[in-house]
Assembly symmetry: C3
Homo-oligomer: 159 residues x 3
């Protein structure tokens, strides 16, 4: 068993894989932060989606009026969904890319630009910045993922 553990440890000791582990974890924590921001706006704007969430405001019509959508809540939720749509491909393609033997320098460049772009995208969405701020940060993360997908297919293609 200790032989197997050593082999697993070697995977996490590989520098490219460690870089992937670090940046994937950071961008997932950033995505998880969207849940807290949604909760913050739901509570401060008093805008909830479920009847049981408004029970503390009293009963009947008094509580029902807080079952509503709020522009700030919806904005965070759109940002959260956009994260899911873009971070899921990064997680999958990025893992395969990290296993495809890229140069450490090139891999770090991909991971750093992607995570930076997604953090910029969040600020652009929540502030909000005028376009093309959000559009550009989205496109940069998208292009980085395509570039990693190209490397994976070039290395591993088996149809």
């Amino acid at each position: 068993r200790s032989g197997e553990m050593a082999k697993l440890t070697q995977l996490i000791d590989n520098e490219v894989f460690r870089a992937y582990a670090t940046y994937a974890t950071i961008v997932l924590l950033k995505m998880m932060l969207m849940s807290l921001i949604t909760a913050y706006f739901r509570i401060t704007r008093k805008a909830f989606a479920n009847a049981e969430d408004t029970a503390s405001f009293g009963k009947g019509e008094n509580a029902k009026k807080y079952l509503r959508t709020d522009p700030d809540v919806e904005r965070v939720r759109r940002g959260h969904l956009n994260d899911l749509e873009n971070i899921v491909p990064f997680l999958g393609i990025g893992l395969l890319y990290a296993l495809s033997g890229p140069e450490l320098y090139t891999a770090l460049l991909h991971f750093r630009i992607f995570v930076g772009a997604r953090i910029a995208h969040t600020f652009a969405y929540l502030i909000p910045l005028p376009q093309p701020g959000r559009g550009l940060s989205w496109a940069v993360g998208y292009a980085v993922t395509i570039s990693m997908a190209y490397k994976v297919l070039k290395t591993a293609l088996y149809l």
Copy 2:
């Protein structure tokens, strides 16, 4: 080639990795169940999102009235989206955590609590239970993921 297969088999033979494989698969099957529950409510409540889904109810206005939202359908869909938002971080961070060499006991504790919390979250959402039932089950799964992320970054950090 058989040498390579042996190495892959060793990965799936590692106990922590097997535990990850088991709990990740269970929680993904649970998430997939949400699709079936959505379909069940769409059919029993006759509430559809696409015109082609209502064609069996006849043509024109007769079918159009089933293109509507239903509170039960929307509730399941919110639960499904919440699963995506929380299970995606668990999948990514949990895989890296399993590769970071945790104690088997500690790893099992993390995986079991996370999966238990998400199953509890689903019941809390669908019954629905009064708050803070759903909120607590969500927070427990969230905290477990943060704890695994801390271990990953402590072991693998490479910026």
Copy 3:
């Protein structure tokens, strides 16, 4: 370090893992395409979700009228969300399946059918095809994922 790199390269040299890498990347690129199709319909239908996205159409009421939902945009977004709900389980369960030592022929069959079913699902959603076209393509991908989950649990179960 070169010893570790060799081991990583062996993972990506394994034929089953290469097949997983190929089909996972293809289906993620297909999912990413949904973002571009959404953008295409938002621009051609002039239907946006954020005030800052309509600023180029002028100020005030003139721009505000483009803050609206459009049936074509919503259809693509439902297809995109359905992708997320089904491709995330494939990514996670498929990776574990590829590591569980399946026969190459069986693994290729699973991956090819899943990716084919999701491409068919996208066409069925966007054309749209009459039911049960979309329903069947969804069910085929779902069944393939269940089949892989069964193999993972049979090989790795550790509760």
